[in-house]
């Protein structure tokens, strides 16, 4: 346990030094937001076994709520973020209550449909600005002291939020509540027969996952000073599933790695494509940048067929096998 804590502290310190090593802070902040988003999703999917296909709803509603609170009501930034989290939790409660009525594949379809309904609501509602989105959200200050319009200060604040979010997830997973969730994932009828009110646990997990996803959304809105429909579109729900799948469902750091890979992919596929075009002389590769979708789809298919445990899962299995071999 102490070794793990030390490893975490070292990682946080490294993360803190990244902007000083000339890594673009906006890129790292984007990774952290999506990593938190993926970890929140993983809480529901990896630990409770519920595939939600509508997590974009939480990202989007929190982003819009925070954006609106900061821009139109002029709330201080910390209150704006908390407001966004509260809205996402509320949306999560309603969505969860409806979706949990059915199980398995129906649950997923209902979450997808509800998230899509919310998307259309955002499209029409005047306060979101529709296609234009909420722009020029003031970043404000943290607790009146730290000026967040400075990218560097914002970076450390976002790092702090990220660490807090992860800590919450860690505590949840390693608690009696987390044990019950795992039991539900492994064998739901048995959990019911043991007397647990399974539906209530599922709903609680759903709301918690929604709230943390909302935290990611609110933070994202402050970083990019905008909240638009792209945050609430169903492709985002698919993307977060992919991040978790690649990284490793049911592992703590898997989603973080998955998020990093996907964000990197989105940013770099264009450059990769142009360099490939230059090397091979095949002009079509230059258009690859627009084809992040193709690469994403391909990775999805490959992962589902052959790589279901994800990077961290496979690594863990590999290490276990090595240990088993050396023991024998």
């Amino acid at each position: 346990m102490n070794r793990r804590l030390l490893a975490c502290v070292v990682l946080v310190v490294i993360a803190g030094m990244l902007p000083l090593m000339n890594v673009y802070p906006i890129f790292v902040m984007k990774v952290m937001c999506y990593a938190l988003f993926a970890c929140a999703f993983n809480l529901l999917m990896g630990y409770t076994g519920l595939l939600s296909f509508g997590h974009a709803a939480f990202l989007g509603s929190a982003a819009y709520a925070t954006g609106y609170a900061l821009k139109t009501w002029g709330l201080p930034t910390e209150l704006g973020i908390l407001f966004g989290v509260a809205v996402a939790a509320g949306v999560g409660y309603v969505m969860g209550a409806l979706a949990i009525r059915r199980s398995g594949i129906y649950f997923s379809m209902i979450t997808l449909a509800l998230a899509q309904m919310l998307y259309f609501f955002f499209l029409q509602a005047p306060f979101t600005g529709g296609e234009d989105g909420l722009q020029s959200i003031p970043r404000g200050t943290l607790l009146g002291i730290v000026d967040l319009s400075n990218d560097l200060s914002l970076y450390y604040v976002v790092l702090g939020i990220f660490v807090i979010g992860l800590a919450i997830i860690y505590r949840t997973v390693h608690s009696p509540f987390g044990q019950v969730l795992k039991a539900i994932r492994e064998n739901e009828p048995r959990a019911i027969s043991l007397g647990y009110d399974v539906d209530r646990f599922k709903l609680l997990a759903f709301v918690l996952s929604a709230a943390l996803a909302g935290l990611a959304g609110s933070t994202k809105a402050v970083i990019f000073v905008s909240a638009t429909l792209s945050d609430a579109v169903w492709q985002v729900s698919g993307l977060v599933i992919l991040m978790t799948l690649i990284g490793g469902m049911g592992t703590l750091i898997g989603p973080i790695i998955g998020a990093f890979i996907i964000v990197l992919l989105e940013n770099k596929v264009g450059e990769f494509g142009t360099s490939l075009a230059r090397i091979t002389g095949v002009e079509w590769f230059a258009g690859l940048g627009e084809s992040v979708t193709i690469v994403t789809g391909l990775i999805f298919v490959v992962c589902v067929l052959a790589f279901r445990r994800g990077i961290v899962g496979e690594l863990g299995a590999f290490i276990a096998r090595r240990r088993g071999q050396s023991a024998a």
């Binding site: 906006i26 529709g130 234009d132 722009q135 905008s226």
Partner: protein, 405 residues
Amino acid sequence: MKTRILAAIAATGLALGAPAQAQAPKISNDTIKIGFITDGSSVYADIDGPAGAEAIRMAIADAGGQINGKKIELLYADHQNKPDVASARAREWFDQQGVDMLIGGTNSAAALAMAKIATEKKKPYIVIGAGSSRLTNEDCSPYIVHYAYDTVALARGTGSAVVAQGGKSWYFLTADYAFGHSLEADTSTVVKANGGQVLGAIRAPLASSDFSSFLLQAQSSKAQVLGLANAGGDFINSVKAANEFGLTKTMKLAGLLVFINDIHTLGLQATQGLYLTDGWYWDQNADSRAWAAKFEQKVKRKPSSLQAADYSAASLFLNAVKATGTDDGDEVMKWFKSNKVNDMFAKGGTIRADGRMVYDMYLFQVKTPAESKAPWDYYKVAQTLPGDKVYTTPAESKCSLMKKS
């Protein structure tokens, strides 16, 4: 002892360094980087898109590929009609890639988002293709140049012409975003000012594929004119459906933003007699014909007015850099506002204090199939609209940068 020698060395270094700094302002990062962000894959991809990037490359090539030994580079990105993709890319380019100026838009919401970033980073941003008149009014900034058209010019051109022809009652089919709203608002104002009336409007989501239900409602309004406050693929789909449902027999269609690519897709049969306002047509004079031929060789179709504007804007920027010897944002903007635009795109165009590029626009009418002698021979000039009449006058401007005389 050591410290005194060190101090002496430092002082000499400073002394030697200082004159170097007092030299003429330099080119940042030793390259001149133009960033171009537009819709490359969605509804407006054909009227600007990657072909617009081609036009800018032509401008770079015509300038010799370098100025005073510093290379000129173009970065291109597709914002997919998403304002957040556009602003994130713009921000990253300014922060990380040392981009010196930004061209583009083709989506008013994306343009407004990019304008904020460009203003924050103090870099010139030439808007081409986004029509919202807010860019030179409420949202104006010392770093924005609104090139090509805006919704006010289109409204004044097409709106007044159609009302003069007898189209007094209007119903709008509007694309539901910043541009569509802007176009509808500006045209409504012109229609009412000319004695017409607006019976209603219906907002369709951007990139809708089926307009049948909206058109049916438009028909039941019994208006004489259906104002299409949309563009690109939306315009094409609505005209197709209007023909299909027989709407064209009872209502006149007024395309408020139409490009030659749209006419090409729809064909002259469906669009003959349509009035439209635009700033450039490939066949308008010898210079434009020559440039269009060069463009056609590369891209295999005639250029739209936006692609011509891309070329013109890029050339203007490169001329500014050559003239001032620097790619500093403030210097370039100062040069822009004190020099005229004289090329195959516009003759005698001026850039005002509020960023509006004022030049003569034209009211075109689409030829009948019989009148057209060759592919892309689609327009005849119905009227020349002098720039100072068709754009927002300085007195009307809501921009704080315009000194009210």
